[in-house]
Point group: D5
Chain length 147, copies 10
Amino acid sequence: MNRLTVTEKIIAAKVSLGIRWSDVAAKVGLSKEWVTSACLGQMTLSMEQAQVVAEIFGLTEEEARWLTVTPYKGSLPTAVPTDPLIYRFYEMINVYGTTFKALIHEEFGDGIMSAIDFKMHLQRENDPNGDRVRIVMSGKFLPYKQY
Amino acid sequence: MNRLTVTEKIIAAKVSLGIRWSDVAAKVGLSKEWVTSACLGQMTLSMEQAQVVAEIFGLTEEEARWLTVTPYKGSLPTAVPTDPLIYRFYEMINVYGTTFKALIHEEFGDGIMSAIDFKMHLQRENDPNGDRVRIVMSGKFLPYKQY
Amino acid sequence: MNRLTVTEKIIAAKVSLGIRWSDVAAKVGLSKEWVTSACLGQMTLSMEQAQVVAEIFGLTEEEARWLTVTPYKGSLPTAVPTDPLIYRFYEMINVYGTTFKALIHEEFGDGIMSAIDFKMHLQRENDPNGDRVRIVMSGKFLPYKQY
Amino acid sequence: MNRLTVTEKIIAAKVSLGIRWSDVAAKVGLSKEWVTSACLGQMTLSMEQAQVVAEIFGLTEEEARWLTVTPYKGSLPTAVPTDPLIYRFYEMINVYGTTFKALIHEEFGDGIMSAIDFKMHLQRENDPNGDRVRIVMSGKFLPYKQY
Amino acid sequence: MNRLTVTEKIIAAKVSLGIRWSDVAAKVGLSKEWVTSACLGQMTLSMEQAQVVAEIFGLTEEEARWLTVTPYKGSLPTAVPTDPLIYRFYEMINVYGTTFKALIHEEFGDGIMSAIDFKMHLQRENDPNGDRVRIVMSGKFLPYKQY
Amino acid sequence: MNRLTVTEKIIAAKVSLGIRWSDVAAKVGLSKEWVTSACLGQMTLSMEQAQVVAEIFGLTEEEARWLTVTPYKGSLPTAVPTDPLIYRFYEMINVYGTTFKALIHEEFGDGIMSAIDFKMHLQRENDPNGDRVRIVMSGKFLPYKQY
Amino acid sequence: MNRLTVTEKIIAAKVSLGIRWSDVAAKVGLSKEWVTSACLGQMTLSMEQAQVVAEIFGLTEEEARWLTVTPYKGSLPTAVPTDPLIYRFYEMINVYGTTFKALIHEEFGDGIMSAIDFKMHLQRENDPNGDRVRIVMSGKFLPYKQY
Amino acid sequence: MNRLTVTEKIIAAKVSLGIRWSDVAAKVGLSKEWVTSACLGQMTLSMEQAQVVAEIFGLTEEEARWLTVTPYKGSLPTAVPTDPLIYRFYEMINVYGTTFKALIHEEFGDGIMSAIDFKMHLQRENDPNGDRVRIVMSGKFLPYKQY
Amino acid sequence: MNRLTVTEKIIAAKVSLGIRWSDVAAKVGLSKEWVTSACLGQMTLSMEQAQVVAEIFGLTEEEARWLTVTPYKGSLPTAVPTDPLIYRFYEMINVYGTTFKALIHEEFGDGIMSAIDFKMHLQRENDPNGDRVRIVMSGKFLPYKQY
Amino acid sequence: MNRLTVTEKIIAAKVSLGIRWSDVAAKVGLSKEWVTSACLGQMTLSMEQAQVVAEIFGLTEEEARWLTVTPYKGSLPTAVPTDPLIYRFYEMINVYGTTFKALIHEEFGDGIMSAIDFKMHLQRENDPNGDRVRIVMSGKFLPYKQY
């Protein structure tokens, strides 16, 4: 047993049970973005949170424990993703990556936008021309320091 | 001469002149995000916009014309980016990619968030624990249709 | 159990039963192109469609349910396909890719031909010099917009 | 001097002159698809055709001669294309590749759709929901034979 | 069950039974080159041929049926083969590939040597300095046509 | 100056002069296969042979000398070739590689077909269904020995 | 002109002048580790620091200005480094990477050791069995937070 | 059974038992860095040490024996690591690799810092701005010698 | 069952039995280098030799037979090896490869050192500064011939 | 100017002058193996040695100085070498790599054969069946130590 087998069990149980990620998140008491990534094997739950998740998906005590172990992260099977939805995000970096870089450095100087001290929120944006996906990302700016 | 040489000339001129991308954008009359990516060789300008950019950076008539040709896009030299700032965005996809996928499908069904009918806005978020970079992305949801 | 195991079960059942994809499509009531790609794990069926497919191939209730979950797409085991039939399509892109790009931009301006709002139709073209495969693809043009 | 330098000269001349590929094709007297790919370094012209192209783009006698030499084909800089328009075609293979394979074998048996004895035609399809790109491909079916 | 498991069963049965490929070919009534590649999962047999092969290797009815399904081709586990015997063929292409190209175009014009309408024959060449492997390949020349 | 620049000069001179490889070979007094590969930077000429080649293509004394230096071999720009003609040979290895291996080991035992003590001959095969390319390869069998 | 050409000019000037990095650092007034990485194109100098560096290496005003532009980082030509000294660091990650991960998570929980808020110091360690290289790295621990 | 299955059993047992690596190390009597890497399949234990580890994790005699066999090292599943914590170390090499090289050669001449005669120590550094991870590495300098 | 499963059984049996490769070689009556590589799945044994190996490691009749089948060679899981001991050999080629090439061509002319008609011998070299590994390789020189 | 341009100048000068590496080595007073690798850009010369080399190849004072700078090592253009002579060494590692590993660990325990404290000697071995290349490698064994 490892984290991957627990992730796969959660995904399979979700299909059987027909639950929504946002309902899982509501029971855990955190955002749907963080909880989904935790259930998909990318974040570390506390023992209490793991118990909630275990109950929802019918995990054993041992499986729940795996949810509290920091996983080896990276959810994609290939360096360049093949799934069209996920590829579009990769394409944004390919097309806009140097723009992100230019504008962040112009505003903040040398450093990065943290992917750790980071939050994101995903929601529907109603639009008469077809609804839109809106993603708001917020990450702490971390400056390179001289020493 | 090709688009790449024009892009490099723009970048070098910007260093010499000490101009800001946001000032360039103001003169063009569009967002700083779109204008920067156009100057970095990723978008196509109209002849009028190209003239404005050419005047700012001292481009020739011929060079301005290249700005109106749709470029071969992709601004990164390697499939997995090496630059720490740009890599963080790649990491977000690696860690959150399947989460994006799960939540968008839960909300919208099968389809993608467009990277073409797409806008993004990048700004500073003041925070006592250190300022944050805030990026808002909005892309039309495009459903797969049956036929 | 995951989508891949369901796909493999469908393929194996098809060999046992000696059914044709076009017959499966007729029962589902959609084109053979869309139905085949769905059975091969690339599209999402409605529960009703999934029941039809399940009955044809002898799938369990649980397996049918997997057909209604949006799959992680990408049907090829390697970035450059090794199968000669599939490679020929890759070769068309290698040889004609920049031509597609030049002609579509000439006709429509900057943007893409959608692979989502997309249909294709494949048929036999009788020809005295040897029959031909005819593929018609139709995808909505999506323009990049300025903002 | 080699074919690549001639291709680059043609592309640069086209930007200066503001000519359309379809006009070039009309002067050569062949389809816009074939002529564009030839000008982009993928096909071989006869000496007469090369003269026409040379006159349009102001090529020297020596450069024209290069157009009559069979080129080393492959127009893309990377195995997985980064340009969004071209990537969409790669994605179609990734998503529909096994479907192409299944349906062609179902109709024709073991073999391939030729990418050599091959024609394609690209045109605008008017549509009230937004115009569409329509591509018709026709390739001879080549059966594997036993021996 | 899939074609790969049938291929592996054939290979294992061949080791147990100590049969030669040329004997298998004689029973099928075709060349040893074609029959071996079919048994190794690269070609498609008719039902009659599959029965012969099934009897030789002790395959079930279901397994025999898999031999009649066109396989996903490509017999090598890596893009650059590691096995010394197979690598030598890859090396021939690396060293002689541009020579093949130059001489075939000189003789035939633009086009390819078909790998589908293709036969090959492999035999021992007695030589006092050490016997030699002689391989004769014959593939139809397919010209690119203008349209 | 290095071997590559000499190779490129030879190729460019051949285009200007309109010479055939088989005529070059006749003047050198060896097969067209070997001479072409030497001119394309894959084989090493003697000084006398290099003088002949130099005279044909108008090379300087220094350039001729480079033809006598053993080159770093490998004539293809990518691990998997993109040119359709050259790719077909790669495909033959992908489809028939394990067949080559099985049949050579069946006939000769463990070892390889040499790519060094190797000759090949390429010719036109007239055929009413379309002429064919015929390639005969002959390579010494080299057995692995125990020690 | 771009940052790379400035880096190359600095490296070439250093060879001509026979200066030591530690002396350059002393004049800039920062650690030798930070200053060397800045001169090698990885960090961003202030205009005052850039002037000092420009004077040492004989850079023009324009070149000095490039030192103040945040560079596209990544100093290695290949994903897996070929240089033996640099490879050893890559090997440490290959052998000890999961150990770093296990021990940091055991001590700190889920998060990372920052490579931005990061310092390192490299010095000689005298040892009778042969002197040793001692590297001290210090990076802020950044915890993943729930939201 | 092989070393990998033993490593996985150790990791799973550690999750069940809730033990800390530093406690395992204390029982073995060596540093936590070395012992963790040994348990993760990168180092070779003596039979006595293996017995201690076996007792802690409930390994069989046979499994303990595997701990005494030198393993095939390399703990990462991909050439460029995807896990954010481990990637940061890769990034340090990407950004600082040429700096490491420049400074070590300046101090020691041509040679390397050994990754074999190597020790490392990882500890918490208390800091009011947030605690830091401190890693001290010490490796023997090995000079290239002339011969 | 295939050769790989037999190799794994031999390796596992060797750990259980605590045998040395040199003892296995002595029983087979050949060098430890050749016998080890055969047991590791790289060489082909005669039936008599296979029986000896089978008896040592407790293989079945069927497993022994697999040792007499020429294997698909290549013992490394990745193109660039990750194991430090094996990587050092790869590094020697990276650093000394062009030197090997220059010196062998200087001495022998164009051709290669055979890796088939090849022997190697590995032994300990006592040295007061630390013992050394001594490897002697001997391979027949195979000249490229003109034809 | 950088080390690569100096290496290329040395190689070009060697072709012009028709000198042998062994004569260069004799003048430098070291082995032909070390001197050749230094001239090919892989080792670092002292100023006195650099002067000798500079005089032989007609290098300037500045170019000689580059020979005394430790180079970024790695002499091969691709991860898997394409040149047949160099590939054979790569093949030896692929076929014999795990054998090297097994036998060195059997004799010495866990550790590596150094590629730094390393010498090699290459010579002709006369043999009536065709002369052989003999390479003797000697590298210090470096044990992993526990701490």
